[in-house]
Symmetry: C2
Subunit: 362 residues, 2 copies
């Protein structure tokens, strides 16, 4: 097992940029973009040959690409290009989220892919959408050859119970009581162990899994690298409480269902589950502002506060709106943008992203 911890400051992250949003995205987890890929027929032989030749089932994309394009189709494309055979591609999301947008973009995706791959592409793979939580069983036993989840697994299945004392915070923070931190960790353990258990049942022996998710390097789950961006959002909400726009009780009863684990915590769950080997774990730092290294960004895209607040709005608005109401969302994110812009001008602001490669060996 190799933990390849690297520092890369030129990488980008669009958090949940491709994530569909639906009415079910309330206080429950909003995980999406889990692309389960299974290949039938002669693909297994070809995959084995590729494995012995390249040491990987996949045509390896660059790490820059992986952080830039966390969408549903990204791994699919690399998988399809790598192995030409009949393939079933299952795109998973919660039943309440939006599959229509993904399905409507399929014909163009397939057209482009056909142009890219060239003739002889034929009817070689088949897309389906699988509605359901990936913290539950989704597929028949040993029916998958490859699983990928893209920037979703840091969302928990629900807000942890027993965290009423986490007042004026909306996530774990340095001011959170220890019982809150423990409740978050317990929920992560429950959820991630379920994910591993069910994927293990669904994958064939020798099947591969690649997970990308937000994490942290520190052993402290309240460390700045993973909690800061939410603390700034709590700050915007707290200001609105002080000014009478939001009831204090509303803020005190709101928490984000999210957990960004450290490598040791991930490893513990993988070892407890017992059927996966971690082939590699890469840790990268990714700038909050996805457009930070664009050569010629537009004036709007030069505004880091605008970019990051917009990106976070795509992730958090459905959850916030279901609790605080839609009407205050513009004001919340206006204030959030100002706070972010101020902090970005004064300090280095980065997420920590993990890419983890697994093989199911049992």
């Amino acid at each position: 097992m190799k933990h390849d911890v690297k520092r890369k400051t030129d990488q980008q992250l669009k958090v949940m940029a491709d994530a569909p949003r639906g009415p079910s995205c309330t206080r429950k987890a909003k995980h999406s973009s889990c692309c389960m890929i299974t290949a039938k027929g002669d693909i297994h032989d070809k995959a084995d040959k590729r494995t012995s030749h390249n040491g990987s089932l996949l045509q390896q994309p660059s790490k820059e690409d992986m952080h830039r394009r966390p969408g549903l189709f990204f791994w699919t494309k690399h998988f399809v290009c790598g192995v030409r055979a009949h393939q079933d591609v299952y795109l998973n999301d919660l039943p309440g989220n939006d599959f229509n947008t993904i399905f409507r973009s399929l014909p163009r995706f397939l057209g482009n892919l056909k142009n890219e791959i060239g003739s002889g592409f034929g009817p070689c793979f088949f897309f389906t959408g699988t509605p359901g939580s990936f913290y539950d069983r989704l597929f028949a036993t040993e029916s998958l050859h490859f699983v990928h989840s893209s920037y979703s697994l840091h969302f928990l299945s629900k807000v942890p119970e027993g965290i009423e004392s986490n007042k004026r915070n909306i996530y774990m923070a340095s001011t959170s009581p220890p019982c809150v931190v423990k409740a978050y960790y317990d929920q992560f353990q429950t959820d991630f162990s379920m994910f591993l258990k069910y994927r293990s049942q669904e994958l064939v022996t020798g099947g591969r899994m690649v997970l990308t998710l937000l994490g942290r390097r520190s052993n402290d789950p309240t460390s700045k690298e993973c909690c800061y961006i939410w603390e700034l959002l709590a700050m915007a909400l707290s200001d609105m409480v002080s000014e009478g726009f939001v009831e204090e009780e509303k803020l005190n009863s709101f928490n984000i269902p999210k957990y960004t684990p450290c490598p040791a915590e991930l490893k513990t769950e993988v070892e407890k589950e017992g059927s996966f080997a971690i082939d590699r774990l890469e840790v990268s730092e990714v700038n909050w502002n996805a457009n930070d290294d664009k050569l010629c960004p537009s004036d709007e895209l030069k505004d880091g506060g605008y970019n990051v607040a917009k990106c976070m709005r795509a992730v958090a608005e459905p959850i916030l709106a279901s609790h605080f109401g839609k009407t205050i969302m513009d004001e919340v994110f206006r204030r959030y943008r100002e706070i972010i812009a101020d902090r970005m001008s004064k300090e280095r602001t980065e997420y920590v992203g993990f890419v983890i490669y697994f093989t199911k060996y049992l």
Copy 2:
């Protein structure tokens, strides 16, 4: 092969009542509710046992039920109740149609099914949505055990070419030139043969297929039993042309992509394709007014013109609106309702519905 032609006047039909509608439902075919069911693992053995025991892979629903409940889940439920094993259920529709509504109703459907079946239900089947045209390949070779299409196959993949002479009609009519009738039949042959060819590739040998669709008993494709309801719609549009609300050219260039075959035409295509046996073909007459035999219908539901126009609006509005514009739709269907009510008060008005049972023997 047995053609079981029966007359049943007490049956009901909700045409495409469950059909999702999306922006792609324009002049192209709007086929939906094609439920492809494949069962993995030990289901094949069980299915074989059932076949030899019952003469059918399916727990046979009543014919009344089949016409009353043409929705996506109906056959699924009967299949699931009939064979308890891991099952993959693929729900197919065009990529532009609405999968979200179906997926959001899945948890309740599964909950009810669990209550109905009782304990031990477990993770025994898995739903996915498959976006794509059923006139194209959708699944891997020999990956399906059962296919069902519910009231969709009378929609063609496109409006037939070369029917510019079909003036003041919107479908085949007694006044249509012979070349129009031939063009419609040619398109039906092309489409239905493609459907059979691709499903044959996807089904295992011994796999079953049940198709429900609108048809006709007469050999004349312009006969009243299949064309009358569209002639009345053309009448409403034609009145609006005469009164200057619709341009004549707009009406002349509009045609519905639909074909209601007779048993002999279906049989011809099945024999040409060569890998299916028709085990049974049932022909039923179904009242235009789905609420006609309700014991205590509300005042609104007593109004046959209202019911039938509303039902037809669900089917035809997306196609009409994309050609004539949304603004005149209320007026079109107000006039259509009046015309339908008048005719229903004077004559017997019925659709002809087919249920066809196939086995893939090659």
